[in-house]
Amino acid sequence: MKYLHDFTLVNSERQTDDFVVLTLQGGAEPLPELQPGQFAEVRVDAPGAYLRRPLSIHDVDYDKQQIKLLVQEVGTGTRALTALALGSTINMLYPLGKGYSLPDSKRVLLVGGGCGVAPLLFLGRYLKKNGITPRFLIGTRTAAGLVRLDAYRELGEVMVTTEDGSAGTKGYVIHHPVMKTETPDFDWIYTCGPEAMMRILAKYANKHGLSCQVSLENHMACGIGACLCCITPTKDGHKCTCTDGPVFDSKYLQW
């Protein structure tokens, strides 16, 4: 069941130059159950943002009926969202898509880049609740781009790479020592981030016989499988990222 609900912006916390965490308060009805990796189509009331904007569920507090979004400012819509005054109403169509599934191993690595770190917090929390300790590998350009590390650390180990070496290992995530051992000490990769990064991870997973779940960020219009705009080529032909994904097993994709 999908919902169209008004939320109230109760907190808006800038993390970095371009990342902001929004805390959205639900209304009378309790929140539906949300899966990590699922997203919401968020209505933005600004000129130049005609369609809704897909944003991952970053964190959930069922008791308080709050959902958190981690928004990277990249254009009109995201900038309008982070500029909203507290108390503003935000309409969300949610929960959408298929999220990450539980692993058949306890040895997991969650790899995020850019705004792709957003769903990994909720995923980490979910794994932890299911008795699996998540380990995070987060890649950014510089140390200044690292977002909410403390929140991730509460759940498990956090490893970092930066392109300029200003924090953690210098380079991309694939250059981190954890990826360099001959036999990786993890069996599942969960990833969200730039497609180039995810493709490299998928290849890595293939090579080492690991499972790899990737979350795609295709451009969407409806978010509910009605328009067929967001497709990705899979072993079974074109599939909708918004309903068959956004999370796919990398082997299922034509990568």
Partner: protein, 303 residues
């Protein structure tokens, strides 16, 4: 109580609000938001004789108050529509129209003939105007003789309501409407998408895999309204208006311009409940203006 019922030839609509092909899936996608049985009708995805994978990704670009799409008729083909989808959706107590497309006259005819056999499908919408399919759609919709040929050929095999959907990418849309009317169309619907383009200037590449795509949404409303007005003045068969309709006011404008009913497309993406709001808004308007029937709106423009 105001009367929202509309007759389009043999079709009886409980209200004039339908959904536009390609934007409403098979209706099921919106079940969480809308009681499908309360719509005037739904026009399902463009359906072709053979399954189609459609175009490559990216297929969508946002534009000022609009969007471009390059879906390119991705669909399971008429046979799987009949065997898999039809059994699921025939339960809807509303008019389910199938939007029929093809690359050749024969494909249109064969597809229509198969749909003719479906009890719970009271009509088809012939899509002779899709700008996203290289081989056929576009060429059919913008040249009058071929439009007439398709319409006449399908008429031979299809004996329920045949709505013909017109392309706006033409010099004289009224002329084409007259052509399809003479070829046996029971109604015309318009507009399909305007051919447009978007460029990613940083990458110096077209945004869409197909370079050009179909423009829809609020941005096209003024053009759509003008064309509906021109066509409604030209033809005698009912006109179904669409293009950017986002609220009751927009829907009423199309009916004042001469449309008997309307279709809502892109606006569903922005507000999945928009159709119900438009129905309620039309009712309000009629009450406020002391009208008893939605039929009074049709062509009631004081021009």
């Amino acid at each position: 109580m105001v009367d929202l019922k509309v007759k389009l030839g043999s079709l009886e609509l409980q209200n004039p609000v339908m959904t536009a092909s390609g934007t409403y899936g098979y209706g099921e996608e919106y079940e969480d938001f809308v009681d499908i049985n309360r719509l005037g009708g739904i026009v399902v995805k463009g359906t072709t004789l053979h399954p189609r994978q459609g175009n490559d990704y990216p297929r969508m670009a946002e534009t000022p108050m609009g969007m471009l799409n390059a879906v390119g008729l991705q669909n399971v083909g008429v046979d799987r529509f009949i065997s898999e989808i039809y059994p699921r959706i025939k339960k809807y107590r509303t008019n389910i129209l199938v939007n029929v497309s093809g690359s050749t006259v024969e494909e249109y005819v064969e597809t229509a003939a198969k749909i003719n056999a479906l009890d719970h499908i009271p009509g088809i919408e012939l899509n002779i105007s899709c700008p996203n399919v290289k081989e056929g759609g576009m060429a059919f919709g913008t040249s009058c003789p071929s439009t007439i040929a398709v319409t006449a050929a399908v008429r031979e095999v299809y004996n329920k309501h045949m709505m013909v959907k017109l392309s706006p990418n033409v010099t004289n849309i009224a002329e084409i409407a007259l052509g399809v009317e003479s070829a046996g169309a029971d109604s015309v619907s318009l507009i399909n998408t305007l051919l447009g383009m978007a460029i990613d200037v940083e990458q110096r590449r077209p945004v869409l895999s197909t370079i050009t795509g179909g423009l829809s949404g609020a941005a096209v409303k003024p053009v759509a309204l003008r064309m509906v007005w021109q066509v409604a003045q030209a033809v005698k068969i009912p006109v179904v208006g669409m293009g950017g309709i986002s609220n009751a006011e927009d829907a009423i404008a199309f009916m004042l311009a001469g449309a008997s009913a309307v279709q809502i497309g892109t606006a569903n993406f922005i507000d999945p409940k928009v159709t119900e709001k438009v129905i309620a808004g039309i009712e309000d308007y009629l009450v406020r203006h002391n009208m008893t029937s939605v039929a009074e709106l049709k062509g009631a423009l004081q021009a």
